[in-house]
Amino acid sequence: MNRKERACIVGAYEHPTRHAPDKSVAQLHAEVAHGALKDAGLDARDVDGYFCAGDAPGLGPLSMVEYLGLKPRYFESTDVGGSSYLVHVRHAAQAIEAGHCNVALITMAGRPRSEGSSGTKARTYNFLAPEAPFETPYGLVPINSYAMAAQRHMHEFGTTPEQLAWVKVTASHHAQHNPNAMLRDVVTVEDVLASPLIADPLHRMECCVVSDGGGAVIVARPEIAASLKRPLVRVIGSGEAIGYVDSSAMNITTSAASQSGAAAFAEAGLSPQDIRYASIYDSFTITVLIQLEDLGFCEKGQGGRYVADGQLIAGQGRLAINTDGGGLCNNHPANRGGMTKIIEAVRQLRGEAHPAVQIPDCGIALAQGMGGMLGSRHGSATLIMERE
């Protein structure tokens, strides 16, 4: 398909709140929907496609479509945790390019901070899953799943705690410029390693924040995008995959990003060397390191060296990641960081990131999401976007 025929992201909005005890989840969805529509210069009556995931209250899209008064002729509620919204952008673009809708609204929001959520507590969504009786008695929670991947990565490749800590240091350097970020203090490798061990080998500062809030994006037909006043951001490559543990051939140090990334690069006709800004899902430090390897930014096992010494801080190396401060410092609304990954990539492409972290003339960007648990089963989605 000609690139000019590709669907575009025309609206993007990140809710400024990080603590919303006085709002409902549906209300937060409505606020981010309004924000993204306003950003695009569109009206709710223009929306004919709606996408949401498990953070939306109610059965699939039913309640939110009613609450928002939408009349979609295309809808979807694929839920693969934090990576859902990148999958939604992909599917929305496919639906638009197939003629099924013109303007797709994707919303996400939640209040885990107000509700006392933590990565050390079991998620309740999968107690009926077939594997649950063999996992829940042992206390599988998000952090110890990712921690087992980290321990195994250290064992196989010699990755060090100092190298992992650089992922957090990088995020903190970016977050200092984001007035909405939850954690704005610049930290050092020593600070990270001095913070308490939560699940060996991961320290407290290697965990993403627990924040209330949300975000929304709007995907539209290119003709509609061209009629709006915002810079054109085209989705030129995408991929999705599900990774799980093969009990007869264990490998928890490679994620499904290896498949979703390869598909996205192949569709875009690009390679990692063409990317100068990447949003990389950062539930924990190890999440970033493994995805960078699997996307091909460095060889498998070399992630520790790749993330170390500030090489991914904007202006210091040839690739910058998570210039909003990421989930580690800025925001991880609804315990699902995929939406904010898309939004910061759109900001970079539009030239609307904070001047201190804006990549000069950022023409191509990547957003990578991972949902579920790296050490057990997870969804992965990759988007490659281009500014005209």
Binding site: S118, G119, T120, K121, F127, L128, P130, E131, A132, P133, F134, E135, T136, P137, Y138, G139, L140, V141, I143, N144, S145, A147, M148, A149, A150, Q151, R152, H155, P196, L197, I198, A199, D200, P201, L202, R204, V245, S247, S248, M250, I252, G375, S376
Partner: protein, 135 residues
């Protein structure tokens, strides 16, 4: 084997039994660690299923494990819980890997590769589940 360890309040939550997984837990109650393998493709898997995830054959058998294996990876969860515990993947000598807990290692996370052997403990509701200790 020794009597299963029954704590005043078990740290292990109850598994939800169903017709497909019940036999595995009944075997655990008899202190036998069993695993599924497929006679069509000769590969094992865990958790046990009625259809082989490798080749979709339904020609599945139960194997009895020696109960010995090595730690594939593990992590001691230290904060946000009433009592620290160590989750792990253990690769049994029969070649199949299972999620479990490691016990008896004190406050340390055992290194990858350490040899372990099975021991059965009771969940809150009195269901036997396998955990592993140093061999």
């Amino acid at each position: 084997m020794n009597e299963p360890e029954r704590k005043a309040a078990s740290i292990y939550s109850d598994p939800l039994l169903n017709p497909e997984n019940q036999f595995w837990f009944e075997s655990a109650a008899e202190e036998r660690l069993i695993y599924r393998y497929c006679i069509a493709c000769n590969r094992a898997h865990h958790p046990p299923r009625s259809v082989c995830p490798h080749c979709h054959s339904d020609r599945l058998k139960w194997g009895v494990s020696s109960g010995r294996g090595a730690v594939y990876s593990s992590s001691m969860l230290r904060r946000g819980v009433s009592e620290p515990y160590c989750i792990a993947y253990v690769t049994l000598d029969e070649g199949v890997t299972m999620m479990t807990n490691l016990i008896g290692f004190g406050s340390e996370t055992p290194a990858v590769g350490i040899r372990v052997r099975v021991r059965f403990v009771l969940t809150e509701g009195g269901i036997h589940i396998p955990v592993f200790e140093r061999d």
